[in-house]
Symmetry: C2
Subunit: 241 residues, 2 copies
């Protein structure tokens, strides 16, 4: 409880201490600007597996950056069926589609214990008027998300099952690598059901394909643990029919 001597120059914003800030919203900002951004970010208690960060239809107030853990983003259609849109990893922003219409249009659920940074959107916009690079960067991130979704549409609507799963594993591998993890060995945080759902396949098909990839010597699959034995063959599956 006593006073301590603190070297003020060494005080870094939480963002700058964060291992993935270079992939996240602060990317490319000046140090002072990162501190300003840091000032509006709320840290929330971690989410436990299965908890929702927000659900579809809720009033939109904030976007969220994932700090650790992973989430799934999904929508529920008129018949009450769940449609998985994607999986989110540290550094990813979620909730961007709620800006339009001031309501979240999807739900975000923790696949494992997660910590997230809440960024109140009105404050972010206000800050954007002072830090031009910030609003530009937000727009870039949204532009990238549009690109990624285009890619997903093209993938899911036309590729055969084998290529879809290969593509998903390959994309995950790249994303793990970007975040400093091994691209060749990782754990899936989502169930087979979630994978099948996102790819528009039956669970049984996904299960069979994992077995098949293993027979081909491309993957080693042990429940949630994936090891990629042959990245080149994996890539070839994406291209071929």
């Amino acid at each position: 409880m006593g006073n301590q001597v603190v070297n003020l120059a060494s005080v870094q914003s939480v963002c700058q201490q964060c291992g993935i800030y270079s992939l996240c919203l602060p990317m490319g900002l000046q140090r002072g600007d990162i501190d300003a951004l840091d000032g509006i970010i709320k840290r929330r208690r971690p989410l436990k597996k299965g908890e929702h960060l927000y659900t579809s239809g809720e009033e939109f107030t904030s976007i969220y950056a994932i700090r650790s853990g992973s989430m799934k983003s999904y929508i529920i259609n008129e018949e009450g069926e769940e449609h998985v849109i994607g999986f989110k990893m540290p550094g990813d922003l979620v909730g961007l589609n709620g800006i339009n219409g001031h309501k979240y249009k999807n739900s975000a659920k923790a696949l494992e214990t997660c910590s997230v940074c809440e960024i109140p959107f009105d404050q972010l916009e206000a800050l954007g008027h002072e830090i031009p690079g910030l609003s530009h960067h937000l727009i870039e991130i949204m532009s990238k998300e549009i690109q990624d979704e285009h890619h997903k549409v093209a993938m899911c609507s036309k590729m055969p099952a084998e290529a879809r799963l290969a593509s998903m594993v390959h994309t995950l591998s790249l994303r793990f690598e970007e975040r400093g993890f091994s691209p060749n060995e990782f754990n899936l945080s989502m169930s087979r059901n979630d994978i099948a759902n996102m790819l528009g396949l039956a669970v049984e098909t996904v299960s069979r394909l994992f077995s098949h990839f293993q027979e081909l010597g491309i993957l080693e699959v042990e429940r949630k643990h994936i090891r990629i034995l042959d990245q080149e063959k994996l890539s070839n599956l994406i291209r071929m029919d």
Copy 2:
């Protein structure tokens, strides 16, 4: 060539004269702000059917608002196959996915004679610093596009062929209505091939489905001309397996 008496108060910006400005980027802006936006917009010569507005990989400089006509947006994959992403109508913005990385990531091709408004992106951003509502509105439009793409992913990956085509026709109907046209009768500007490609189906399947919808008394299809005879049955097809 002689001087003319002009009533300055009656001079309206081109945007304000445009029939669909209320759906487009100027939406919700004050009159003076619309004029400012108008000032940076370049009108280009109309595109003829088959001409490209931009192609994938080209340097990104501008986003475009479609003024009249319609376009298709597509990407080419590694094998050189075309994947149609979507169809764009008056009031729609195209090129948004080029912001990230300063290159267009898709190509936009006129399906019929089109006129477009070119909006140089750096000028738009500069203007956004003066008109806060403008950059907010751009962000909203992008948020909506992310939403729409999520919807497309869910649709294309999981719905049966019948529901996909029904959904596409229904969405077109809504979009025509928004633009002041009949929701029940319109002309398709795209080929059966483009439709099939976007929906991830074979051309033959699309053709058969149109015939089938006609037998069911839901549509009247005469080449490119579509008349919706029963919107309710059409909507039901989207929901049902």
